[in-house]
Subunit: 385 residues, 2 copies
């Protein structure tokens, strides 16, 4: 690197990314099976518990690592299914026991995030919370931290704030966010803009229009918001759910937790935070978006994982240490297997081997892996799903 004489030397990482955000608590909903990542993902071993990139850290641990720089290890709360609570605790040695929330049954993302927000508000009064799925990949932590910091400014001003990922291609796999006017400086602007609309996964033509317009960002399901703002919206928009969460949260740190949880949780409204809060509040002008100029992926299938992995000289991605791949006319192959694997004449092949199953497909058909799991279930092979 050369520096112009007299100019200030550039620091390698902006100072802002080093500092915690003192009033921020992170919420990590750790759910979802990741069926299309079979045979590595299983019902008892969902995607967030897997080390997909072969770097020695699972997606959950990668999420933790990314957040700890913003919150320290004391202000991260993980919400997961009861059957995965033990595995989560094992993987996150620094997670305080009080910050592990186990759901007796899945009630979708609004109940999970809402309960965590309600518990935190009971413990600390109104605080800023940021919610990030446990099974996404964000390699550039510094840029991620900058975006969260920007979002926090708008959230403090009262907006439900999301981070819109700058799209790199016309994906049909993600929902989109249409941004409007920038917010005033006191409300998080100019980084933050008001959200005009959330839109569902588009078809290819529409996705191309979104990309060309420059007004759309990918919806990565990242929300930063004050707990009081979130719970007030919920009281207005989903009163029974808000009331149920309040009752549980009030009992959470008491001896009545299990009794109240068992009584209330199963009856809570099952709804995603997007439908419960993001979309209706956006329609009222209450949602902001800040740009996320970083690589992000929800690793929905093996093809998606392949794009995140560095290829060797032969164009092959082989994340497992010690795997030995011989590729002949197979550029872009992804081999997630130990030992010697030869791939001949299948570009973008996907080969995944576990102790009890082998998957062979290619990037173009990676979405159809779900059909394998469906067939195995239909055949009564619960041992394999």
């Amino acid at each position: 690197m050369t520096t112009t004489p007299g100019s200030e030397p550039a620091s390698a990482v902006p100072a802002s990314t080093h500092a915690e955000i003192p009033d921020l608590h992170a919420i990590v909903p750790a759910g979802g099976a990741g069926t299309r990542l079979w045979p590595l993902s299983r019902q008892h071993r969902p995607k967030f518990l897997l080390d997909l990139t072969g770097q020695g850290r699972t997606l959950l641990q990668g999420t933790w690592d990314r957040l700890a720089g913003l919150t320290g290890s004391d202000r991260i709360m993980v919400v997961t299914g009861a059957k995965h609570a033990e595995a989560v605790a094992e993987q996150l040695g620094d997670l305080p026991a009080a910050n592990l929330v186990a759901e007796p049954s899945p009630r979708d993302s609004m109940a999970a995030i809402g309960l965590a927000a309600a518990i935190l508000q009971h413990r600390h009064g109104p605080v800023l919370v940021a919610s990030f799925a446990a099974d996404h990949v964000v390699p550039d932590v510094a840029s991620f931290h900058r975006a969260v910091r920007d979002a926090a400014d708008a959230a403090r001003a009262g907006y439900v704030t999301t981070i819109g990922i700058a799209p790199t291609h016309a994906s049909t796999a993600f929902g989109y966010i249409r941004a409007g006017q920038s917010l005033p400086p006191g409300e998080g602007g100019p980084a933050a803009s008001v959200v005009e609309e959330f839109v569902e996964k588009p078809d290819a033509e529409t996705a191309a229009e979104y990309l060309a317009s420059g007004k759309y960002a990918w919806n990565a399901g990242m929300f930063v918001v004050r707990t009081d703002v979130l719970l007030n919206h919920l009281t207005e928009l989903q009163p029974p759910l808000a009331e149920g969460l309040e009752v549980i949260a009030r009992a959470w740190d008491t001896a009545e937790r299990d009794f109240v949880m068992d009584a209330i949780w199963p009856g809570l409204t099952k709804i995603a935070i997007d439908h419960a809060i993001a979309e209706p509040v956006a329609a009222q002008g209450g949602v902001a978006v800040v740009p996320g100029d970083f690589t992000w992926d929800d690793v929905g299938d093996w093809a998606s994982l392949a794009t995140l992995l560095a290829a060797g000289e032969d164009g092959v991605r082989a994340p497992i240490p010690g795997s030995h791949v011989v590729a002949v006319d197979a550029p872009g192959a992804l081999v997630h297997a130990a030992g010697t694997v030869a791939v001949v004449g299948i570009p973008e092949a996907v080969v995944v081997q576990t102790e009890d199953a082998l998957l062979v497909t290619d990037a173009a058909h990676a979405q159809r892996v779900k059909a394998v799991v469906d067939q195995l279930k239909a055949a009564g092979r619960d041992d394999l799903v």
Copy 2:
């Protein structure tokens, strides 16, 4: 089946296929690595020692089974490399030790077949010999026996006689035989015809012309001939080779076998029987061909094997007992692996798993598997080739 009144009832299998041919000895050259069948085939475990079809018999054993009905178990001689002699003896429990000929080094098919013929002539005087490779597949034994019987008739009359396989498609993987006029009844006709020419593997266009003409058959390397006829041709066409074989054969059943073999064998001319005998003798009008109207394959690669295996309802070929294949949009897949294997979106996929290696390719690229073996050799991975 209905029979016309007054006509003779047809017997299910012609009586002729049940009878041995008393003056016939079979010679089975068991050589060749079958490189394109990696990872199942290895230098120490060549193709003929493998059970490729999952029926519990190796190709060598299948060849034995097919020939024993013509010769009994006393008149089959196997010629193989010294390093495979023990495995051959293990697989063929009924093979008399005296009929197992071990080559110290490979000298191509003329030396192998010629030595066996010379030994047999020393033991029995001139006899009829029939040579069949140890690693071909012929499911219809009755039709095969009929063809050998027809060939034996022409061979007794003094012809080097081959069995020309009726081509089922315009293959570019095999050499062809062009048949001419039928021979007279006393010389094996009308079943046998004179061979006008042997031609090398053609390009696709030429192969299509051959198929359309109806005058060409596949050259399966099957020869039936009197030992005296064969050895006389050899004396005329390859005098040093003929002389060397005669010296070895004279010493074979004596205490001098090893001494003479070590002295003579390494210096023998390395030439295929096709070039040494079949082609030049055909040019003299001394080769006959009889039709072989049966399924035959030299199982040159995995695609070739796939065509020989029965497909399940899902279009999948899974010859290994206990293998469990889930195929989604993968018609024609061949899975040679134990356990659960899912193939998604790759028609005619080829998946082969051994203890130490996995191959993934498709039928269209099966020929290129040789490149994998080449790469492994270049990388010094002799443990895998």
